[in-house]
Amino acid sequence: MPAIKSLEELKRVREEALAKKQMKAAPGHIQVIVAMGTCGIAAGARDTMKSVLNYIEAENLSGVTVTQTGCIGMCEQEPIMQVIVGDQPKVTYGKVNAEVAAQIMKQHVQGGLPLKDHVLPI
């Protein structure tokens, strides 16, 4: 069973992650939510998710939680992605392919500026 690389390694990863987190002055928690109902998945939501995760890895972006949700009733706008920065209101984006997801990660999640072209009016 080659399942777990090693728990020791994971513990080390954890210590390092904790240390890095403490070094940064908590910038307010950021939540990224990708809609993954049947409609979202069929429209390519997993590529959207992949792009978000790749971005976090590539930029070493700490303090971002990524989750998914089901169909939110705007199937024609899928893939849909939502971003919540600290206590600011939730911003919902439509037609978020992998490329747009990377833009949102850069401009909104990292830069704090919503990407107006893709915001859905809800």
Partner: protein, 189 residues
């Protein structure tokens, strides 16, 4: 939907919505028996007999956000197109089991797709759920390899550190990718 791995994610989503605490996902590729089998077992709220029949109907859904369900019927038709089928067993209060089979070599069989990404996505998106993934691969001679991932140990080792911290993500992705690659280096999907 273009990949079986995407269907798996879709069916797992139902298990999450059914308030499951533990979800198990099995993928079995058996080249000797010319079989591809995927299975999702949850301990969610389950369905009565009537409902379990109706979820096979594309126009049945409990959701309020749109009028069609589609998830399970889509997987069923994909399985049936390649000499396979779908079975669903459910019991209220106990959980649900969905199994789809395909003839591995069938020309119309949908590609399995990126199973690793499906695992990673589910794992990080629903940290409160206990996930077990089991991917078995048997070659034409019947030699069996297995990749098992039970997230319980990982989560207890991580404690309060988020699964989406970059270092943790890298670790998880590496573990899943290496584990799956070791199963069958020469697999063509």
């Amino acid at each position: 939907m273009r990949e079986i791995a995407l269907h798996l994610m879709d069916i797992a989503e139902n298990s999450v919505a059914a308030e499951s605490r533990t979800i198990r996902m099995d993928v079995v590729e058996d080249l000797k028996a010319d079989l591809l089998k995927v299975c999702i077992v949850d301990d969610g709220r389950g369905m009565d007999e009537e409902t379990a029949k109706r979820v096979l109907d594309p126009f049945y859904t409990t959701r309020t956000t749109r009028k069609v369900g589609l998830g399970i019927p889509l997987l069923k038709s994909a399985a049936e197109m390649s000499d396979g089928g779908l079975t669903l067993a459910s019991e209220p209060g106990k959980g649900t089991r969905v199994e789809a089979t395909f003839r591995h070599s069938h020309i119309d069989r949908m590609p399995l797709g990126d199973v690793g990404m499906t695992m990673l996505t589910l794992l990080i998106s629903y940290p409160h759920i206990h996930w077990t993934f089991n991917y078995q691969f048997a070659d034409k001679q019947g030699r069996l390899n297995e990749f098992v991932l039970d997230d319980e140990e990982i989560k207890s080792a991580l404690g309060d550190v988020s699964l989406t911290e970059p270092d943790v993500l890298r670790f998880l992705r590496g573990m899943i990718e290496e584990g799956i690659a070791a199963l069958a280096p020469q697999t063509e999907f």
